[in-house]
Assembly symmetry: C2
Homo-oligomer: 328 residues x 2
Amino acid sequence: MNCHLSHAISHNQPPVILQQDQVNALLPLLDVKNELTAMFRSLGQSHAVQPPQTLTLLPQDAGDFITYSGAMAEQEVFGAKLSPYLITETAPVITAWTSLMSQRTGQPLLWCDSALLTTERTAGTTALAVDYLAKAKSSELAIIGSGAIALAHLRHVKNLRQWQSIRVYSPSLANDEKRRAAFTAIDERVVFCTSSESCIVGADVLMLCTSSGTPVVTNEQLSPGVLVTSISTNVANAHEVSPSLLLNADVYCDYKATTPDSAGEMVLAATELSWNKEEIKGDLPDLVNANCPLPDFSKAVFFRSIGLGLEDIAMAYGLWKLLQNQQQ
Amino acid sequence: MNCHLSHAISHNQPPVILQQDQVNALLPLLDVKNELTAMFRSLGQSHAVQPPQTLTLLPQDAGDFITYSGAMAEQEVFGAKLSPYLITETAPVITAWTSLMSQRTGQPLLWCDSALLTTERTAGTTALAVDYLAKAKSSELAIIGSGAIALAHLRHVKNLRQWQSIRVYSPSLANDEKRRAAFTAIDERVVFCTSSESCIVGADVLMLCTSSGTPVVTNEQLSPGVLVTSISTNVANAHEVSPSLLLNADVYCDYKATTPDSAGEMVLAATELSWNKEEIKGDLPDLVNANCPLPDFSKAVFFRSIGLGLEDIAMAYGLWKLLQNQQQ
């Protein structure tokens, strides 16, 4: 993201609404990696701010909504994503919409459906970490999980290393041919494992893409040098790895200022195992700005993200730039 | 606001954007008093929630933005107003936009310019308090201030009592014929005072509509039974009355859960004068639900508002209902 380019883009047009099908049509044009890299670079240079996310409980136990906000100075935008979790008689309704505004004019720029964008920025953030933290010669990729997040993770990392083996495991895949086809449509190298153990063993990069609240991998399964990525869920103290892994791994995260107080295994390691968040070796703002040591691969490497409002703002800004360029 | 009526309104249409001129055109149709009354009734019955407002400082001292959010269960809506204060080489840019979403579908309903709406809801909230707290036989109205907020206050209270005298004072009015004409266009009974003292003396209701950070009226100028309303500004510890007034008045506010920790004179009275916020006799949720004593007029009555996100949500919801009814 070039500062002068952003200044050339007009902040003076009427705001745009993008519904899900319109976002879907624009997604292939969105350079997620570039947008996230620019944002994390700004954040590391204090050209962006990330306020804490806020949770609001809806009246009468109807659910909640989370507000994710952020501001980027060079791009001259700020905004907020509102994401409700609405309890219904059947499945809960979960949506997300991001409003993007101009820091130059104070006027609105874009209101966009962010359901797909949230998946993209989550996977794109993991991929950014993989690119910085995985051994250059990583050849074996393992993915635990089979949801939309897992598919997006595969899409974002498949070209980052010269994978010789891509293994996927989820208990639900055995009887879901359609979902298996979705994986092989992204990368025909994918093979499906019949057990978690056979998926994990020998992996150079292990991406945990589950909504599990308890560990899906044991410390003993992790060899020195392996990179484990985890996203987990918003559930209190949810964790995909054992809190004790943090005592024996090089630990990184998406944003040091917020992640350690939210990520379940970090909270548990701090309260029960005397782990100190100061031991985190770096976060994405550090990595993008070369402000922290890289792993020496003498231990396992753990990367944890919880997701930032700034990632949502960066995605909305990326879409808005695409619309501006289409109009020129 | 009738619960069953709201259920009859569709939450399934594409979201609408209303820019300032469109909001302006709809404003005469908006029943501010009714919308605010319904919202405060819900809030008092725990059918609405009001999270704290959040202030985010923009990078590189460019200003800030405040997020005002809220949710209303009966109306099945939630949302947030984003209001930036942007520092420029000349005057600061201040805007406000509210995004309204459906609690039923999780989908967006309306994104509207809220600059005018903020003025309306602020004046409408004061007017609601005047209707509950001013003596029934109030006949003398005094207004200090001459901005858009003062004009809106006059508009919202002019028919609430049988005013025999409406006096306005602001130092700037002496040389501003156009602004004086704006007042008399709203109510031809308005007379302009040449001093603050002559405006205040004898008033039954005194509405302070200034952005002053220090008192614009002394305690000695206030007779027993007079109602003083104050909105002040967001500046730290700004106050239009002396903190000591709170020791000698019946004190009310817009929302007990948040106002005492933000309103300058309340913060100062608590820290310097041992005033206790438990002494507040009631707030608008209490008044609308008849859950607090009314003043006995043996002392001055003081009403302080700081403004709630729910007021913004209520205004956006009112506009959205108007649009729905126009389409039917």
